[in-house]
Symmetry: C2
Subunit: 264 residues, 2 copies
DNA sequence: CCGCATTTGTTCGTATGTATT
DNA sequence: TAATACATACGAACAAATGCG
């Protein structure tokens, strides 16, 4: 490094890092950089574009935060890959079946099962007194072994004694309900919102920390309309979308809009 | 508005900028820094924490990207302010009424009305031949004068000749439908997904560019089940959430979960 | 309207820490 | 252990936007 680069050649408008970002972005879009590919190292990019490391890092930071690439310390920076799963939210929603219908293999992994005093939100949704005991069950959901969700579900201890043990043993929620004399249940309400993932969620969902998640809060009721479960599930925003179908004749699931993302 | 010295130093694990970020974040959460307040300048924060400008800027970048603050060149950095609107997605969804029920004042502003060849997604949703003409109407929606949505809606030209002129004149969609002999219409399908806002969207929605949006794609049909409109609306993720209520007896809108955001 | 001070935005250089291979 | 590659951090300079006199 003998030559001294004449100090900042007043590039001004448009910025260096944006140029780098656009270029890499274009290469990804065009397929020149395929999903899974490793980008050139920072040093190489510096040389190719004749910019400083700062600009390279800024560009990569933007791309990473847009979910297009993922930087891994000590290894390199890689192009992210996506694929979208469509969930149908109906009066009867069984995510498991939903996935199977799309030719994907659902699986789940228990994270935690504990007995706690119901937080206010949960107590309100379930119609419990504050501080009443509930089981909080945390599970991670996968589709084809790719993590797609983190779910917190809450059941009143009084109504479902020791249900967390059954769940841990691998019994499905539907089966457990049946064991407690609940042959069927319905979705009462669903709330959907979005926010950026927390660091922890990003890690568990294997998505970039800057990417958003879809948060679905729902209350299930038995056939008499009594709330039996409240849950809050965080979905990988990159990989999931929801549909609500209102078929004219109350029929089963059908039809689906083909495309995702919007046309620009 | 001192943030407290806090002194960092050979901190190693956990990093300087994260310390600054956490500290400011805590001050915002605790109310020590209220929405709208101006943060200390970069120079001041540098001095207060005894760190370099790099660390300060990194911390602020994180906070900005989390939507907690907003930096404005030449002015300063300010604490952001939020408030959430809840929309009910039902078989009959009229956003206008939805807003009024929450005591907010809805308004709209036309952005564009043009006649174009239907993009593939639109043609598929409306059951049109490719290239068939549609009106694309772009509007921005406000609640209490705060921008909350950008909507692109598509109507077949053949069925609704010159409807864009009526829309521009301020007629409501419902009224226009009535004028074309459609007394009522239903939501056929709704798709919800999330992604980060584009720069343009962030600007129009007045939210931080790093924050996510909720994209709602929907198809409306007339009472005979024929598609009459396809639309895609981008909602400010910071300020909007959706609920789907499934009342046991098919009644109108009712009940609402109180809280938002999740309990940690 | 101009010029200046203030404040954030961009970019360079350099050094050191940490994770991976 | 050593080499590679990303992460963090300091300092310095100039650009661009804002606000004020």
């Amino acid at each position: 490094m003998t030559l001294k680069p004449e100090h900042a050649q007043l590039q001004s408008r448009s910025g260096q890092w944006q140029l780098v970002e656009e270029r890499i972005s274009r290469d990804i879009a065009s397929g020149a950089l395929a999903p899974g590919d490793r980008l050139p190292t920072e040093a190489e990019i510096m040389e190719q574009f004749g910019v400083g490391r700062h600009s390279v890092r800024r560009a990569i930071a933007e791309l990473a935060s847009a979910g297009k690439v993922r930087a891994e310390q000590g290894r390199g920076t890689f192009v992210e890959e996506h694929s979208v799963i469509t969930y149908n939210i109906a009066r009867r929603t069984r995510f498991r079946r939903n996935l199977l219908e799309q030719g994907r293999v659902p699986s789940g992994q228990p994270v935690t099962e504990v007995e706690i005093a119901a937080p206010p939100t949960v107590a309100a949704a379930l119609g419990l007194k504050d501080e009443e005991k509930v089981y909080m069950i945390v599970r991670r959901g996968f589709a084809d072994d790719v993590p797609i969700s983190i779910g917190h579900s809450y059941h009143p201890v009084e109504r479902f004694p020791n249900m967390h043990l059954r769940r841990r043993a691998g019994e499905s929620v539907t089966d457990i309900y049946a064991a407690f004399g609940i042959p069927d249940y319905l979705r009462r309400s669903t709330t959907i919102l979005t926010r950026r993932a927390t660091a922890e969620e990003a890690r568990l969902l294997a998505q970039s920390p800057q990417q958003p998640v879809l948060v679905v809060q729902k209350t299930d009721v038995d056939l008499k309309g009594r709330p039996i479960a409240y849950s809050e599930t965080v979905w990988a925003g990159e990989r999931v979308q929801f549909t609500i179908e209102n078929d004219p004749d109350e029929a089963g699931p059908k039809a689906k809009i083909g495309e995702r993302r919007h046309h620009e």
